[in-house]
């Protein structure tokens, strides 16, 4: 059993604010910034990560076994785990949950993660209602067979979509299950006033004895980040869910008392510019390389108040497989110009740069625009609502360049493969796909498949190295110009305790609700 924090006392309540509505708390559906970690606290999966890290550990599974060929996973379930409705969780629930999330009727945005499970195609096509690969061996044992070896499968068993739900409750509420979530998690939903607040209460029967620390968490919805910060400064709020708004960042950092309560951490995020490799002139690799060299990443970072670090490859530094030694393309205007000339555009060309319209993305786009102008590329900016940018990216002739900020990629799980599939692989380069660079390199796809078939945890490093190579090769073809990796800055009220890393937990965003506590309980 895990050691508990000796300083932590149980009890107390905290308040967290969010701007946007919480859409749903159905683990099969929720895929937003705010509900992601809420769901993690209401539900559990077979696997999880150690708090504040990216290290996998079993959760509802007590233990697991992987067959030598890496295609069969056998999970032994923890006993005595109860749903919030009091019923004990069994292997049937696990199977039910996986069948449910892959069933097209559920309309889960995460169904694709389970594609490696045997029988997935039939379920996706509506030919079967259950995954053939998932079998209940006995009430506390589940066997999952894969159609191909998948090194990321344990991560998949840790993402929300695979979290276990009780069949009877799902059937009771039907489509409204997301508003009446019942899981096995540390908290249970006590109140949900639409548009105003959600209240989580400690689950007294939580299987993880001693957790959670807090009695109650109130999420207040619809709060402008600036106002949330004002309230934090007044002591009405404990954590601003949307972080420190850019407009207030300098002010907070200039005040030592406030600065002391800011926690900085890495994020599994990369901001990049995609270049449509099927569209002239970006079909020429030299042009794409020139763009990579033309962007003054230092300055872009400065514009967002140094809240990021310049990036030179797709993977963020805290992701396994990140290549520290990789040099990337240095900022070099002269060389960029030369490359452009070589590519037959000595005088540059005109193009478009799409960007999502929320601050600071248009500003970043303008900085990039100016850098491109320095080598003769006149990019006009199209600052649009998120949905419209996504639509343009998924259209082969839609967008020559897109600044990814605000829309794409915060990793679903901490594995290098997560940065490849839909956004750089051939599978995503289809109409309506997410590979906005329309980059398709069959060799790399094969290599990626090879890397993901190295299932043995002992060989993880070998696998990461392979992925590192893949991304190096990607950067040679330069479908992206990585610009920076955003840093997270979370702030907490003085009364909040717990390790700093809980506040920048890479998977529990913004904080790990199960492990934080308050200092002022008696």
């Amino acid at each position: 059993e895990e050691k508990l924090d000796p300083n932590a006392k149980q009890g107390g309540a905290i308040t967290i604010t969010y701007k946007d509505d919480v859409a749903t708390l159905d683990p099969a559906i929720g895929y937003d910034w705010q509900n992601w970690s809420m769901i993690k606290s209401l539900f559990d999966g077979l696997m999880d990560y150690e708090p504040g890290t990216t290290k996998l550990r079993p959760e509802l599974a007590e233990s697991y076994e992987i067959s030598p060929d890496g295609t069969t996973f056998t999970f032994k379930l923890r006993k005595g785990v109860k749903f919030h409705n009091g019923r004990e969780m069994t292997a049937d629930d696990v199977k039910y949950s996986l069948d449910r999330v892959t069933n097209p009727k559920t309309q889960s945005p995460g169904a694709g993660f389970f594609a490696s499970i045997k029988g997935y195609e039939d379920v996706a096509a509506g030919k079967a209602t259950g995954l053939a690969g998932v079998t209940v061996v006995d009430p506390s044992t589940v066997k999952i067979e894969l159609s191909r070896p998948d090194a990321t499968f344990l991560h998949v068993m840790a993402i929300n979509f695979s979290h276990v739900v009780p069949k009877e409750e799902v059937e009771k509420y039907g489509a409204d299950f997301g508003k009446h979530p019942v899981g096995t998690g540390a908290y249970k939903l006590a109140e949900w006033t639409l548009g105003q607040r959600l209240v989580f209460e400690r689950n007294p029967d939580y299987w993880h004895k001693g957790l959670p620390y807090l009695d109650k968490i109130t999420f207040e919805i619809g709060q402008e980040p600036i106002v949330a910060l004002l309230r934090l400064q007044k002591g009405e709020v404990d954590v601003p869910g949307d972080g420190i708004p850019p407009a207030k960042f300098q002010e907070v950092m200039a005040d030592p008392a406030q600065k002391a309560r800011v926690v900085e951490g890495g994020q599994l995020q990369t901001g990049y510019v995609t270049m449509n490799t099927t569209m002239a002139p970006f079909d020429n690799v030299k042009v794409r390389q020139a763009v990579n060299m033309a962007i003054n990443k230092e300055r872009v970072v400065k514009i967002i108040n140094n809240r990021a670090v310049p990036a030179n490859q797709p993977l963020p530094p805290s992701m396994p497989g990140y290549d520290k030694s990789f040099a990337g393309y240095k900022y070099d205007v002269a060389k960029a110009k030369a490359l452009l000339a070589e590519a037959g555009h000595p005088d540059g060309f005109e193009t478009q740069l799409f960007v999502m319209n929320t601050d600071p993305n248009p500003r970043i786009a303008q900085a990039i625009q100016q850098d491109l102008a320095a080598i003769g590329i006149k990019a006009s900016i199209q600052s649009l609502a998120q949905a419209n940018v996504i639509a343009a990216g998924g259209d082969k002739a839609g967008a020559p360049m897109i600044w990814s900020g605000g829309m794409a990629w915060i990793a679903d799980f901490p594995d290098p493969s997560n940065f490849y599939g839909p956004i750089l692989g051939c599978g995503g380069a289809v109409a309506g796909g997410w590979n906005w660079a329309w980059y398709c390199n069959k060799d790399l796809d094969a290599k990626a498949a090879k890397a993901d078939s190295i299932v043995d945890p002992a060989k993880a490093d070998e696998r990461y190295k392979l992925w590192g190579e893949i991304y190096s090769k990607v950067m040679e073809d330069a479908p992206w110009a990585p610009v920076f990796n955003e840093q997270r800055f979370t702030m907490r009220s003085p009364r909040m305790g717990g390790d700093d890393k809980l506040y920048v937990d890479p998977v529990h965003i913004p904080i790990n609700y199960d492990y934080v506590y308050v200092n002022d309980v008696q």
């Binding site: 207030k248 300098q250 108040n305 319209n357 303008q366 900016i381 600052s383 649009l384």
Partner: protein
């Protein structure tokens, strides 16, 4: 029997043979109106001569335009109105932004006013099915969320200044139409309109010469208030990707981009805001003066 009747002899007062001065001439006699005209002239001049008035390029993100932490600079000797979040000279952006904002606030708003007035007058004057149909259409447009229309248009067209101008004209006429309709229908009942009909005045003549002048005060109120509203609306629409795209400046979008920073960098909101206010006020001063000048019952007012 043909001797004309002796006219009333004018009493005491010397009849100065001073014929009416032109409207402009009379405007120029009012200090407040002159101030208004000057502000408008300055704004137009600023917009037209922007390249000669400032040493900076409106879109150039100056190296020395930001602090080391990336904060904008407050007003100083080099940047009179400070710099923005990307290190661009704010004064220059406001000058160039006047081009966009004048087109929106004056041209688009004016177009909306004209459409609204025409629809309102027509509907108010012609009672029958024309009026009914026009008013029902106006009701429909009024009930229809403008923002949605704008977004959809944006999706269909390439975003540009003229699209946003068109959208503003298309959505803003409705309110004017409704107000003008109400007034016109009561004016149409007045006896002097009947009197015009008996002398054979054509419908356009009645509408333009006899009804329109009475609507002037209302039109002036709506027109001048519309300036601020439309300039700010442009920013919202641009934000949704319909209007001018960055880095093109407009007063509205300078405010819009920077409004969350109003505590950290108040000049970014204050100066463009003041520009909008000044323009709207200037038009109002001129409008008020015009209203007085064109309203004969107010003559003799200092």
């Amino acid at each position: 029997m043909t001797s004309p009747i002796a006219p009333d002899a004018p009493l005491a007062a010397p009849v100065i043979a001073k014929r009416r001065a032109g409207v402009l001439g009379r405007l120029l006699k009012r200090p407040l109106a002159v101030i208004g005209l000057i502000i408008i002239a300055l704004t137009v001049a600023g917009a037209v001569f922007a390249p000669w008035l400032t040493a900076y390029n409106p879109n150039e993100q100056l190296f020395d335009g930001l602090t080391l932490e990336g904060s904008p600079l407050p007003p100083n000797a080099a940047f009179w109105l400070g710099t923005d979040l990307l290190g661009r000279d704010l004064l220059t952006r406001i000058l160039y932004g006047a081009r966009t904002s004048l087109i929106i606030g004056v041209v688009a708003n004016g177009a909306a006013l004209i459409i609204g007035t025409l629809v309102g007058v027509t509907a108010g004057y012609f009672r029958g099915w024309i009026g009914g149909a026009l008013m029902r259409f106006t009701d429909l447009m009024m009930a229809f969320p403008a923002l949605l229309l704008a977004i959809c248009l944006a999706a269909v067209f390439q975003p540009s200044l003229w699209i946003v101008a068109m959208v503003i004209a298309l959505v803003n006429w409705v309110q004017t139409a409704r107000v003008v309709f109400t007034e016109t229908s009561s004016l149409a009942e007045r006896e002097f309109i009947d009197a015009e009909r008996t002398i054979g005045a054509s419908t356009p003549r009645i509408l333009f010469r006899h009804i329109l002048p009475h609507l002037l005060p209302t039109i002036i109120v709506w027109g001048t208030l519309g300036i601020s509203t439309t300039v700010l609306l442009e920013a919202t629409l641009s934000y949704l990707g319909i209007g001018v795209q960055p880095p093109t400046a407009s007063w509205g979008n300078i405010i819009f981009e920077n409004q969350t920073y109003f505590q950290a960098a108040p000049w970014l909101v204050f100066f463009p805001g003041a520009a909008i206010l000044a323009l709207a006020l200037a038009f109002n001063l001129v409008g008020d003066a015009l209203r007085d000048i064109l309203d004969p019952t107010q003559r003799g007012r200092a």
